[in-house]
């Protein structure tokens, strides 16, 4: 299954990569692969913007607007007038309607 692809915010600067391979390991959708000890962006359109690769890249070679792709949470953040980037699946810490 694939989702909307042309909105994806993932950017990769291959010149900064040191080949540690963490991005390829943490990605649940195989967006990165390690080829000849360098990361390669193989399937950008499959990115779900979870931010795991960028968070684990010590070289800061990866940039993505990380966030949860959850309509319920985003509607909530619009109603509460908070930034969508602060949205986390529409559930407050103690609420039960988490994804």
């Amino acid at each position: 299954m694939r989702y909307l692809e042309d909105t994806v915010t993932l950017e990769f600067d291959a010149t900064r990569c040191n080949g540690c391979g963490l991005c390829a390991r943490v990605c649940p959708h195989a967006v990165f692969a390690l080829v000849d000890k360098r990361a390669v962006l193989t399937d950008r359109g499959a990115c779900m913007e979870c931010g795991a690769c960028a968070k684990n890249c010590e070289q800061e070679a990866i940039r993505v607007r990380a966030g949860v792709g959850c309509a319920t949470g985003l509607l909530g953040s619009v109603l509460r007038r908070t930034e969508p980037t602060n949205t986390s699946c529409g559930c407050s810490e103690d609420s039960s309607d988490c994804c």
Binding site: V8, P28, C50, C70, A71, G73, C89
Partner: protein, 380 residues
């Protein structure tokens, strides 16, 4: 499973419980040892660590069934801290988990017949994936627990096995810098842990992929039903009340006929979308969930019409339902984006920008036509 069931750790000496929440110290720690899923203690140089069972009991199964239906979910927590599986030594693997009991249950069951340490982080009872997204399953909490549990004295190695889905909250390089432990990302699913541990902490490509098969999707239906169901019942109740309106005043006959029929159609559309949306997700046309849902709503209208149970009864009401059903179904399936495993935030924002105004317009015009049908002779 070890026979050694000594008395609980906190009664003998308090210091060993230091890694548990200070706020929840002796009282809940005692409770923790009494939980149905612990069966002893393992002695270490830093104190006694509760040993957990790897077989799930009837109470565990009942608990997960309730969580699936969203009953008492916020109370379904494991006290954070260090736990032992089997008889782990200083070289046993160290696995990190969230304190959502369902995640914890999956983990301890997968470790059946093995010895390992489990470090439970305080994620406020939220699963690894959602907690990592909001940062509660994160670098800070991990480093704090590693230090408060004095893990450098419990094990001789310096490796933490963190579930891969926790990676959006944890920075492996930063954890290493701050506490000296190297993060090894484990498989997505706990059931792959034995193979991962046996291969020297190597995960295959398949273990790293997040799937979203039919059973994964269907397991989420109950929570969708309980969450969305409350809204659907409110709308249905509104239809029942409005059903009494007519040109000749308010009538209970209208409530009993048009009102109840309207309510039933709202609820039926909701159930249709909340069950078939997730079930048929890969086969519904379109990539945007709101489009998939709208088509599902149209199909429901078409199906009812084809069966001869005209959703309207009059041209005004037919017009009302041909708008209301897609609007409701589109909204319901759009809200399944949060439960899915492959939707990006930028994509959800893009589809919502177009879909939400259309859903509102569809619902408003549909409701207008439905109300008009109540007042115009022969409208229903």
């Amino acid at each position: 499973m070890a026979q050694e069931t000594t008395s609980n750790c906190c009664a003998e000496g308090a210091s060993q419980c230091a890694c548990n929440d200070p706020g929840a110290a002796p009282a809940t720690t005692l409770g923790r040892m009494d939980t149905p899923w612990t069966n002893g203690v393992v002695h270490t140089s830093v104190g006694d660590v509760p040993q957990v069972k790897t077989a799930l009991g009837a109470r565990d199964h009942l608990g997960s069934a309730k969580v699936r239906w969203d009953i008492g979910r916020s109370q379904y927590r494991v006290p954070p801290g260090l736990y032992a599986v089997g008889e782990p030594g200083a070289d046993a693997p160290l696995l990190v988990s969230a304190n959502y009991k369902l995640s914890f249950d999956h983990l301890r069951r997968a470790l059946s017949g093995r010895s390992a340490w489990i470090l439970v982080l305080d994620t406020k009872g939220v699963n690894v994936w959602c907690a990592a997204g909001k940062g509660t399953f994160g670098t800070d909490e991990l480093v704090r627990r590693v230090e408060s549990c004095a893990l450098d004295q419990v094990v001789t190695h310096r490796k933490l096995v963190v579930p891969q889905l926790g990676a959006s909250g944890v920075s492996a390089p930063e954890v290493h810098r701050r506490c000296g432990f190297r993060v090894e990302y484990g498989p997505v699913r706990a059931e792959d842990l034995p193979a991962f541990l046996d291969s020297g902490l190597k995960a295959t490509g398949q273990m790293r992929r997040m799937n979203f098969g039919l059973w994964d999707r269907l397991a989420l239906v109950p929570v969708e039903l309980t969450n969305g169901g409350k809204k659907a019942l409110l709308v249905a109740a509104g239809m029942v009340l409005l059903g009494g309106l007519s040109a000749s005043g308010y009538s209970m006959a209208g409530v009993r006929t048009v009102g109840l029929v309207g309510a039933a159609q709202v609820l039926a559309t909701f159930l249709f979308a909340a069950i078939l949306g997730p079930a048929l997700l890969p086969w519904l046309p379109g990539r945007a969930f709101s489009v998939k849902g709208a088509l599902l709503g149209l199909a429901f209208f078409g199906g009812l019409a084809a069966l001869g149970t005209s959703p309207g009864g009059s041209w005004l009401h037919a017009g009302a339902w041909v708008l209301l059903m897609p609007a409701i179904a589109s909204f319901v399936v759009m809200n399944f984006t949060g439960a899915s495993t492959f939707t990006s935030q930028s994509g959800v924002l893009r589809e919502m920008r177009l879909a939400v105004p259309l859903q509102i317009a569809g619902a408003a015009v549909g409701l207008g036509l439905w109300l008009a049908g109540l007042f115009i002779a022969g409208g229903h």
